[in-house]
């Protein structure tokens, strides 16, 4: 026995048409909702990047802690050298002893850096490579220039609040560990940020990593050379201007440049009021 009832929509053609129309509209609505819900967001910060940034921040902090004491000692020794009027009295036995002490501390500094830099290099490179892959695929290969522009400007060109910009251009004047801590915090909370902020943030961090990576590589090469030079100088008790330059450079990189201040983009002046939209607007 067949108990199945014929579908109601089959009975009356007008009703059938109306019902089909409703069904079609419903289907379209569901489809539109699912499309909106699944709007692809750019994936620039996989969890590995977050972890790498955290790790790099920790390594940088360890290096700073280790070097702070040595650099403090170097400063004191240098001050003593100047106060003892050793400049121009290099042949004096006391001054030579002071110069050797300074040289030995300088070697300590180089040794600490040599020990810590490989870890730093490793984590920085990991972050750089992950970001590089993300930027290449998400912004470089999946987007046209117009799409990139739309991503940066957001859905509505005129209502993007300036304060959402996480731009960190101008990074000097900041401790290395602080810099990575800030990056980590920004990236760790990136879920709450819009795509346009993420693209700028990822680009900023990537370029910084690229620069840092080159700097670390050069520093490692220089350390090997400077260590050899200083070992030779130890026998003569000479303070070279280069030595002071290196110490100054390390202080700037690690602890920041006092003169420089981080530049953060301010909100644009002017009113937010913007009403007219031309049909020609794209």
């Amino acid at each position: 026995m067949n108990n199945k009832r014929p579908l109601a929509i089959a009975a009356d053609p007008a009703r059938r048409q109306a019902t089909l129309g409703l069904l079609l509209a419903g289907t379209l609505l569901i489809f539109a909702q699912s499309v909106l819900a699944n709007t692809p967001t750019i994936r620039l910060f996989p969890t590995t990047v977050v972890e790498d940034l955290k790790q790099t921040g920790n390594v940088a902090r360890d290096m700073e802690t280790g070097l702070q004491e040595v650099i403090g000692r170097l400063d004191q020794q240098q001050q003593l050298y100047v106060e003892s009027k050793c400049d121009g009295a290099e042949n004096d036995a006391g001054c030579q002893r002071l110069a050797r002490q300074i040289g030995a501390t300088y070697l300590d500094m180089l040794t600490i850096m040599e020990e810590r830099l490989p870890d730093m290099e490793h984590t920085v490179n990991n972050t750089r490579i992950s970001l590089e892959r993300g930027l290449r695929n998400e912004l470089g290969k999946k987007m046209t220039p117009w799409q990139l522009q739309e991503t940066l400007i957001g859905k509505t060109a005129t209502s993007t609040p300036a304060q959402s910009s996480p731009t960190l251009r101008g990074r000097s004047g900041m401790r290395l560990s602080e810099r990575f801590r800030q990056y980590y915090q920004l990236v760790a909370t990136s879920g709450s940020q819009s795509d346009q902020s993420l693209a700028v943030l990822a680009s900023d961090i990537y370029l910084d990593m690229e620069e840092t990576s080159v700097l670390i590589e050069r520093t490692r090469q220089e350390i090997a050379r400077a260590t050899l030079m200083e070992q030779l100088n130890q026998s003569f008790g000479i303070i070279t201007p280069e030595m002071m330059e290196v110490v100054g450079g390390v202080k700037t990189i690690l602890f920041g440049d006092e003169d420089a201040r981080a530049l953060v983009a301010g909100p644009p002046p002017g009113s937010v009021e913007q009403a007219y939209r031309s049909p020609l607007e794209q």
């Binding site: 970001l131 290449r136 470089g140 290969k141 251009r169 990822a202 990537y206 370029l207 644009p268 937010v272």
Partner: protein, 182 residues
């Protein structure tokens, strides 16, 4: 001096006079003068009449004249006035839709028309990065005119300025990443 010499001298004189007349016509263009009024609506009416009277080749100059006149009385309303003028130009067949969009967006939109293309950034934008940025910089000065000086849309102009800086940064990073894979 014989008569043959006189004839050739006269011919040269006539040729020079003719050339001078032609160049004078070209610089004054008596048939397609610029609007003299400082009122934007009147100027647009004038330009429309001129464009419909055989001066369509002077569209660029007229558009520039209208922008200059609008700079004298900047207001947000000007965006709509220019949009309607461009739509009218499209309807009259003076401009294609794409041209009308280009004229409007280059001056009155935050987004950059110089940042367009159908191919991905690695293959299309990165090899021409310097040129793209140079074109954007030029477009930014047009936006300064359209958004800031004509429409008093400071917010829009500063957003365009920031967008330019962001594009510069993001392109630098993206293109470095694209190049690293090669």
């Amino acid at each position: 001096m014989n008569s043959q010499d006189l004839t050739s001298t006269f011919r040269i004189f006539v040729m020079i006079a003719g050339l001078m007349t032609i160049s004078a016509c070209a610089s004054n263009e008596p048939g397609c003068p610029s609007p003299q009024t400082r009122n934007l609506d009147s100027a647009i009416s004038f330009v429309k009449t001129s464009l419909n009277s055989g001066c369509e080749a002077h569209f660029d100059r007229y558009y520039d004249d209208l922008l200059t006149i609008a700079e004298g009385d900047p207001k947000p309303e000007n965006k709509r006035i220019f949009s309607e003028f461009l739509l009218w130009s499209g309807d009259q067949g003076l401009l294609s839709t794409r041209q009308a969009q280009e004229y409007y967006n280059r001056f009155f939109n935050v987004k950059f028309m110089s940042m367009k293309g159908d191919y991905n950034n690695c293959s299309h934008t990165c090899p021409n990065k310097q040129r793209v940025l140079f074109d954007m910089e030029r477009e930014l000065s047009d936006k300064e005119r359209g958004l800031l000086r004509v429409s008093e849309d400071r917010d829009g102009y500063y957003r365009a300025d920031r967008l330019y800086q962001e594009v510069e940064l993001v392109l630098e990073a993206t293109c470095t990443a694209c190049a690293a894979s090669r």
